[in-house]
Amino acid sequence: MSRSEMTVNGRTGGRRRGRRGRRESMVGEAEFSSYYGRPVVKEPTWAPLDIAGYLFLGGLAGASSALAAGAELSARPGLARPLKLGAAGAISLSLLALVHDLGRPARFLNMLRVFKPTSPMSVGVWILTAYAPAAGAAALDELVPLGRLRPLGKLGTAGAALLGPAVASYTAVLISDTATPAWHEGHREMPFVFVGSAASAAAGLGLLGAPLAENAPARRLAVIGALAELAAVRLLERRVGIVAETYHRGRAGVLMRAAEALSLLGVAGAIRGGHRSRLAAALSGAALLAASACARFGIFEAGRASARDPKYTVKPQRERLRDEQP
């Protein structure tokens, strides 16, 4: 029996709206079966503002801590300061968002009763447990004279710089380690998308907050981060097959296109005017921050859309079965 000829219940394509009219427009798309077009896997119950927001803020914090340490080592206090403060602020908001998203926020501490390497959320909680105090100490060092406790501030800066990249990249595993097609199918590329996005966000924060004389590293990181993210997204979209549609359509499509445009705008601004105009640097920085946020919300929405339509679950699995049994 030819799979492409299979239709059951007339719900080919898995869409309930206008399914009769769609039949013709689906020429060229192999058809598939589903149970009344209902999803096979469940959409994440996570609130976009909490969790996509956390993906953005966590990345921003993690990469900012690394950039801040570099700024401190290279005697750029004007660059280090906004990055340290931004990292502490972003990770504080992240923790609030994570607890807020729980169905039982009062039971947050149940996360700390186990350590499970099979659960990226468990690993992430432990990374945050180490990172957040370090980022806090680094920021405190900027805000108040710590006196004899000064070494703690330095230790915080160093610790946050080393743990920050883990904070920025583990969240890719967090969302990829699901049955959500747009996320899981992209699990190879997602960490690179995420650290690229985090780097350009941190660079954006640096451009926004640092004096012109000190922002050169932020400008360079903006270019590296944005290009890495762009390349990783392209690779992901090529490798995930049909699921790539979810990154191009609907709300996710709008957000992903906005992310790309803002990112290119931010990089161009940073290269052209970031070294001579405070306004150009600030605007470029804001564009990069917005680009990173758009990308995270876009990826989040693509995941939701891919879970809603059984096509993205059934078709890749069918293709896999067909490839395994020639």
Partner: protein, 311 residues
Amino acid sequence: MSPPSLLSSVRGHGDPAGDTGYAEHPPRMGFFTDTSLCIGCKACEVACKEWNRVPEDGLNFTGMSFDNTEGLSADTWRHVAFIEQRKPIAGSEANFQHTSANVIDLGLAPAPGTAPPAGTELDSDFRWLMASDVCKHCTDAACLDVCPTGALFRTEFGTVVVQEDICNGCGYCVPACPYGVIGKREEDGRVWKCTLCYDRLGQGQEPACAKACPTNSIQFGELDELRERASGRVEQLQQAGVLDARLYGHDPHDGVGGDGAFFLLLDEPEVYGLPPDPVATTRDLPRMWRNAAIAAVGLLGAVGASFAGHR
């Protein structure tokens, strides 16, 4: 590598309870749901709700045949699917073209006094597939793997159960399940799913759904014995000409290491809303961690590189 008791998905095996660390444990128990015997009475749905005190979750009209339950969720632990096809029930030919197997227009609820035109719905080439879906209690359970609190655990019977006093409603298990089984009860904040009646098993009783099933479509027992029985049944049906009969979730070498609750189906799994080739997402986890580590080091490197050069 990580402690073996935690990496259930990374290994292939047939004894999840033993691998979890139970030194002595009863045999692995499970369900064999033979959908060729299902009459769609939904006694399983009712018995499950009653026994487990699962709350009411909306009395909807879906228009999906006789299925207003819609699917498994936090508040539906057994779900009977109804599929109407233009296809003979027995003696089905193997190479049947599904193109013509569309849903029958039932012309629901004709106005009083108007009988449907004679012959329109009395097509002999009509079959009604009914199937009672349930949590698969996977050998490699992604929900259990990703749970960050340990609320989800493996019982001595090899089943997967949520501890409601531990779950903090993080919701990670919900998108992790390759079958879309487990769900979050919004007003409660926690996740819920079939426990394979863990309380009844402890008392030597069979689960409520199996107990209530009037046709023995839902069969409960030792998994090894059920698998044997199922392969005999599928052979019997094939010989009787039901060439569509096939087992689903019985194979310990599939993407979830085999289901603790498996099925005999009369069509492709996706027709019933089941994934054709489910894989526990945690199988790819080692590679994901590796790439995340490479990316993290890359980020450090990129930051370092951005300090090279003047100014």
